[in-house]
Symmetry: C2
Subunit: 709 residues, 2 copies
């Protein structure tokens, strides 16, 4: 899981996480070895098959998957990463439990690694340059797994090389506000090194913000208060508890965008046009290095930071596995997770991949037995180089842009599948809410409560819906994992599914060993989910969602559930009515557009309900399903956010403005407010409003009866 721009998720801190893998490309042998049960065009979801799948998803097999997957470090493009590509291929080509086909494809992408010859260093020096203290170059080898040549030393991927030296200044989280405050207090930032703690803003943003004040180097550490609920002593941290040991250092990508940095909007084929890396944007402007809290607490005075990271073109693989649909093979339900990790990556991403492999095994077995074949095609994906910036998945969406835009029904992401054992946590766009609820109601929660996953979930995360009353709250999608290119670039309804924390018991920013050498199999097996029942719960939930999406006659995407989002955005916009009217900007057309959307969505649901009562003409079902599948696409506007690479979804683009309304409107409004009311800034507010109105009107138009124009 990658931790970049996170966009105000309902679920708070848990929303800040993600995982990574590599990209492929398949041809299904036509019919060949897989017996196709005679498919009926009007066949609906088979509840018996669904029950069978849920029952067969096995916690112990998930544990054994995880043991294998996390046995060795598997940094993107490393030999072990490539070995796991082969493992996935073998599983998906297994004659007893494999899929219809599996293959890999490679992209040549720009990654960033620390130099093996010149380790990155952080030293305290005196005025003559003599070293008084040096930070660790690697984490302490506490369990025998933190050493060895395959454990990449802590570093900030994509940080530029350099050896800045200067006085150390503590800059809190390195946010814009933090630096402003330091400046206001008269602290000299020019030519300083700042020490920041993880959290608050994205990794790369700390360097971007710092550089604006003349800072020449940045250190980032993990604060025990943020990650360990305050615990910091060796005997109260891993391997004695799930807490991060004093030497643990969070690695991560400091690239501000996602996708291969040299080939934006183009698949990173060897022959593709590449930016010169000097012209690539989104890298930190100054050297930056992460350290552990053990070292952070002793730093003071003059500090010398030596960063020797190198950029390298590497071949990164995705693995794709396909089950051909029996009735509508040209409709794709995608299910993916990344494969690459920073070190062993037991939690991130292998808890997700362990679930993925168990789910594909169960479905593959039914397929090979001839018991079942889905109505629509299912595509399993193991993405490469996610940790460096969702690279494998992004290149995949670039390569297959047209095909996916025409045919993808939904994308299911299961990156870290288990953060903790308390409750389900789902992020996604509104149309996926209903299918997730249906799945969660049908499955028992782990533990002895006797509750369904749904009833357990509602105890931890809930909201009051004007339509449904009290329901579990589904969070929004930022850019923390591989769903980002699917939702923001392609407009494919997406979701991310996991089990997570009881927030009354921990305020950890994320599970403590995140992106460190301590994220190992034993950590999961001992502290995170000893019985693997949370893993199983996620497998069952995600599996049920997958089967419902692939096999239901009518797609279980409730487009009407977008209305609540639109109402909430509209309500927030209403707070701006007076200042907007002062600049001759009317909210009237927005109100009308939201009403039209609601009306069209409600009518469509009524038509579906009527059709479901009768016998179904396959073409009529297909036409309705096309309306449902393509709704999310109608919210894309490639003109809306010219500065935001890949972001084109007018409802879910990054919101930096303070008003919780449509992101373009919110951002433009904040900008207009802050620029002292320049006419051009208010024109942009009006433009953003018109873009949203046009998108909603266009969306409503696609939901109306298809012969209306």
């Amino acid at each position: 899981m990658q931790w970049v721009k996170v966009l105000g998720g309902v679920v708070g801190a848990a929303a800040l996480l993600g995982l990574g893998i590599i990209v492929g490309h398949f041809a299904i042998p036509k019919g060949a070895d897989s017996p196709a049960p005679s498919a009926s065009a009007s066949q609906d979801l088979d509840l018996e098959i669904l029950k069978t799948v849920i029952e067969q998803l096995d916690a112990n097999r998930i544990r054994e998957n995880l043991r294998e997957l996390s046995k060795e470090p598997h940094l993107a493009t490393s030999p072990r990463d490539e070995a796991l590509v082969q493992l996935l291929l073998q599983r998906w080509q297994d004659p007893e439990s494999g899929l219809d086909s599996a293959r890999t494809t490679e992209y040549e992408v720009l990654l960033s690694f620390p130099s093996e010859e010149q380790p990155n260093r952080v030293d305290v020096v005196n005025s003559t340059g003599a070293i008084l203290f040096s930070c660790r170059h690697s984490e302490e080898n506490l369990t025998g797994e933190q050493g060895g040549p395959n454990v990449v030393p802590p570093y900030a991927a994509y940080a530029p090389p350099g050896t800045p030296q200067g006085p150390l200044v503590y800059a809190n989280q390195g946010s814009e506000e933090d630096f402003k405050e330091l400046q206001n207090k008269g602290v000299k930032l020019q030519d300083s090194i700042v020490l920041t703690r993880y959290g608050g803003v994205g990794r790369g943003a700390k360097a971007v913000n710092a550089a604006k004040y003349g800072v020449i180097g940045v250190l980032v550490y993990t604060d025990p208060k943020d990650i360990n609920d305050g615990k910091s002593l060796p005997n109260e941290t891993f391997p004695h508890s799930w807490c991060l040991p004093p030497s643990g250092v969070e690695r991560g990508s400091y690239f501000e965008y996602f996708g291969d940095p040299l080939t934006p909007y183009l698949p990173a084929m060897p022959s593709s046009f590449r930016l010169n890396s000097d012209n690539a944007s989104g890298f930190p402007p100054i050297p930056i290095q992460p350290i552990g809290f053990e070292d952070a607490q002793v730093l003071l005075c003059q500090v010398n930071v030596s960063v020797h990271n190198r950029l390298e073109l590497r071949n990164s693989s995705n693995v794709l596995g396909i089950i051909r649909g029996a009735v509508e093979p040209d409709r794709y339900v995608l299910y993916g997770n990344h494969r690459d990790s920073w070190v062993h990556g037991a939690v991130d991403p292998s808890t997700g991949t362990a679930v993925l492999l168990e789910l594909s095994r169960v479905l593959g077995t039914l397929l090979k037995k001839g018991t079942w074949r889905p109505r629509r095609s299912i595509v399993f994906a193991s993405w490469g180089a996610e940790e460096f910036g969702l690279i494998g998945s992004t290149e995949f969406t670039e390569e297959f842009f047209s095909k996916l835009q025409e045919r993808a029904v939904a994308y299911i992401n299961v990156d870290i599948s288990v953060f903790a054992n308390a409750t389900l946590r789902v992020q996604g766009t509104p149309p996926i809410q209903s299918v997730v609820f249906s799945a969660a109601k049908q499955i028992s929660a782990p533990g002895s409560s006797g509750l369904s996953i749904y009833d357990n979930w509602i105890r931890y995360y809930n909201r009051s819906s004007s339509v449904y009353g009290l329901v579990p709250s589904v969070g929004t999608l930022g850019a923390g994992s591989d769903y980002a290119p699917f939702i923001h670039f392609l407009g494919i309804s997406s979701m991310d599914i996991a089990y997570t924390y009881d927030r009354s018991k921990t305020s950890a920013r994320i599970y403590p060993t995140y992106h460190t050498a301590f994220d190992t199999f034993d950590y999961v097996n001992k502290f995170l989910d000893p019985g693997f029942t949370s893993h199983q719960a996620v497998a069952r939930t995600a599996g049920s969602v997958l089967l419902r999406l692939s096999d239901s006659l009518f797609l279980p995407l409730n487009v009407s559930d977008y209305s609540e989002t639109l109402r909430s955005f509209l309500q927030a916009a209403e707070n701006l009515r007076v200042p907007l009217e002062q600049h001759n900007i009317s909210l009237g057309p927005l109100v009308t557009a939201v009403e039209k959307f609601e009306g069209a969505a409600t009518s469509l649901n009524q038509r579906i309900a009527t059709l479901q009562k009768g016998t179904s003409d396959p073409l009529q079902v297909r036409m309705i399903n096309d309306q449902l599948m393509l709704l999310e696409r109608t919210f894309l506007n490639s003109q809306a956010f010219p500065e935001e690479r890949y972001y084109s979804h007018v409802l879910w683009a990054p919101r930096t403005g303070s008003v919780a309304t449509f992101p373009g409107l919110s951002n433009a409004y904040s900008q207009a407010e802050s620029t002292g009311h320049e006419p051009a800034a208010w024109a942009e507010v009006q433009r953003q409003l018109s873009i949203v109105v046009a998108a909603l009107e266009g969306a409503a138009a696609t939901l109306r009866p298809v012969a209306d124009l």
Copy 2:
């Protein structure tokens, strides 16, 4: 027909024309009055119905349509334009011969008109400013139809107001080369007025080019050599022949882009964000005024040009009429033409609208009788304000972007339906070639030759196809009429159909009275097509194409016909191989991509042929048809041409480079050559090449069997 950027059509000068109308929005009364013949999902095109339609298309009714349509001037948004909106509505709502539904929608768009109070003037003055000679303010009233308040005086729409005065310089066609040559000859251009003739470059380009040399005003006249095969005397021109009289002046839009100038990419709803007209781009930078050749020949010395054009927001209507599809109502075959004219507009656009009304009458009658209903929906459209820049059609594509992108099968444009009586002329993208050929082979050409339209056509315009041998040549689509937003912005396979000249008999740039007050009913009835048999031929051809697209089980779009285009572009690119390799740019990936496309298209055609032999599963047919329908979409790339408003089709964007290859590659190559080999310019060549490769690879991917990924 509008005459803007024209992009190297095969058909030469005839490719330079187009027509204009207004935009609507419909709801079909569900089933209501129209008896739906029991529709079979596997019903193919009914050849008897096709024969009936062709037989019933009546030349005399087309004549009477034209008489009514061209009775009075109907400039965009004028009262007569609005009266024609009502006429179209009445026809399409007729209980005996109407469609399922018809309605209008309005857009508020920025048009440009001459001032009624202060006529634009062109005067020859002496050194004291005294007027020695004045150009006519209007055309001579030769037939009683050239006078009256509704005849808009000649003007250059969107030319800025101003009263420049200076020495007159003749600047040929006002091309970049023309001005360079004048400068090289030492002619002083600074502060001059230039006299240019129509042709060579677009209207607005003459002012843009002139302004770069300090020119302060531009006159444009129609040269008898270009338009009248040299004839210029009153007794050899209209009303004595089809030639342009000495006082005739070509009006036109001088806007460089298309669509409403204030709302690019947004529908021009009253509430939409509008640019301030000072910030709008694409208007001529200096005053410009068109004049007749009668005046042009006497101009000399010092000239004063007074332009008093005003910009005005006006409501412009489209009219849409719909026939609901019986089996796949969510697939739209669009057929349109503009309605607005500069004056009476008998040829431009009423010859097209007269055909449109006859075709909709024949189909409407069959529909109301219960004899027929198409498989797919048919949308007839009468666009507004085309003459000002394809405004009605462009706003329509902006308003219904998502819906059209998802569902439009093809767009058929019949603007000027008859330029002359010699032969059919078709412009379009390759997938429409086969359906046009099928239609043209089946219909007799007008006259006594006994040939089919196809066999007659091949005598005038032909090419040697590597696949088919000698075939009629289909021209390419520029931006001369309302097909432009459909093909360039939305990627919908489009075509423009007309009857045109025998080029051995005239070299007229276009029919001589184009955009003048002499373009009247009598002109058509006497000179252009006295028997209206060419009109009928176009009606039959376009009607057959429409019916084949709406009723065929498998869409008659032959995607394989793109291969010849790709091969020809590739062959042209091969000429650049050596210089490209000198800059480390390889054509290898392009060659591979073209080969992949060819292979995938050929295989798809084989699959279709196999399926056509058996009984057809409706869903299987639908899946194939989706591949065919959406192929054109796969060539769009919104990142490819950031400077070119609306242009996103990587095969048909404007080509300014001299090499007849992919436009992005050609343009970037010419730029790199001319900039003295700057690295950034060669990087852009590589980028454009990668964009084409990615598009072709993506296109091939969508043509492969749908379960291949």
